[in-house]
Amino acid sequence: MLVFMVLAVIFYTYHKRRDILQKNIQILLVVVILASVVQKLESSQFMSGEFYYYMINRGTLFSFFINFFSESLEVTKSNYELLKTLHNTDPNMGKSVVMKDVIPNLGKISIVYAWLTVIMEFSVAILLLLKPKSALTHILFSIMILGILCARFETAFMALLAICGIILCKNQKLRLLFTMIVIGCVTLIVTKIGYH
């Protein structure tokens, strides 16, 4: 995504036409988000909720919130130890471990969350394709970015998406929101809290 965005900006220095740059960014965003939806739909581990279930119980998703509650933190630590112990055994022995749930009914919650993710991403992609300048599109797009940031500090990629929002959006308040997201992400990257 970054490579193609950089290419679009390099070409912009040649043609100097903002409408072409916006079209490049718009279609790139749609293609990348739709590809992400396809990958999720194809992945049985994702659609069955198993991926989210694993990530949350391992403490690698929503860790910011999990760390607030000592009981949940203990569960993720004990799950980590269980997996580490299993990893040291011969897989041919067919051993397994049972992970503890950070919150009750996490299995069902993970399935709902997986479907919500796909529906959200698909809606944003379609709206970006059909109504790239609509305020509703960019409100949903910013909610998607903030939602992902709440789950995990994927700051570099989210900053990239927010920059796309700044380029495409006409609404000053929403552009300010995207700018704040970029500044926040860059701050987290510089302080080494976020991923780059």
Binding site: M1, L2, F4, L7, A8, F11, H15, R17, I20, K23, N24, I27, L28, V31, V32, I33, A35, S36, V38, Q39, K40, E42, S43, Q45, F46, S48, G49, E50, F51, Y53, Y54, M55, N57, L82, L83, L86, H87, D90, P91, N92, G94, K95, S96, V97, V98, M99, K100, D101, L106, G107, S110, I111, R152, E154, F157
Partner: protein, 131 residues
Amino acid sequence: MANTSKALLLKYGIPCVAIVVIVVQLYNVHINNLSRWKGGGYGMYTEIHYQGNQIYITGMSVDSLIANNSINESFRYLKLMPNEKNLEEAAKQVLNSTNKDSIHIQVWKPTINSKDGKYTRVLLEELYYKK
């Protein structure tokens, strides 16, 4: 006419290249067992990370083997794309740096059942290789 074609090319050229790259990646996911994580942005967070794959070699410690940089690199690549070709490459690397003349190498993938929390490993690929 020429200007219209040029504008079309400038508008849709880069997204078309992106589509080609994504199609190639999806092809590799289905045919060559490439992890969906590779590429970034359009496949991350769709399955457990490929670093969770486990390489197991009968009678050898993988942890001590990865002290060798070239073996470490081929193991990393094997976890990313666990297929027969990469298994063979990794097996050759191991045999070249040890005294053994045959090897049994396996790649295991983690699986989890979200209904009962049961976490286990399933065999993805394995290879018996002789010098």
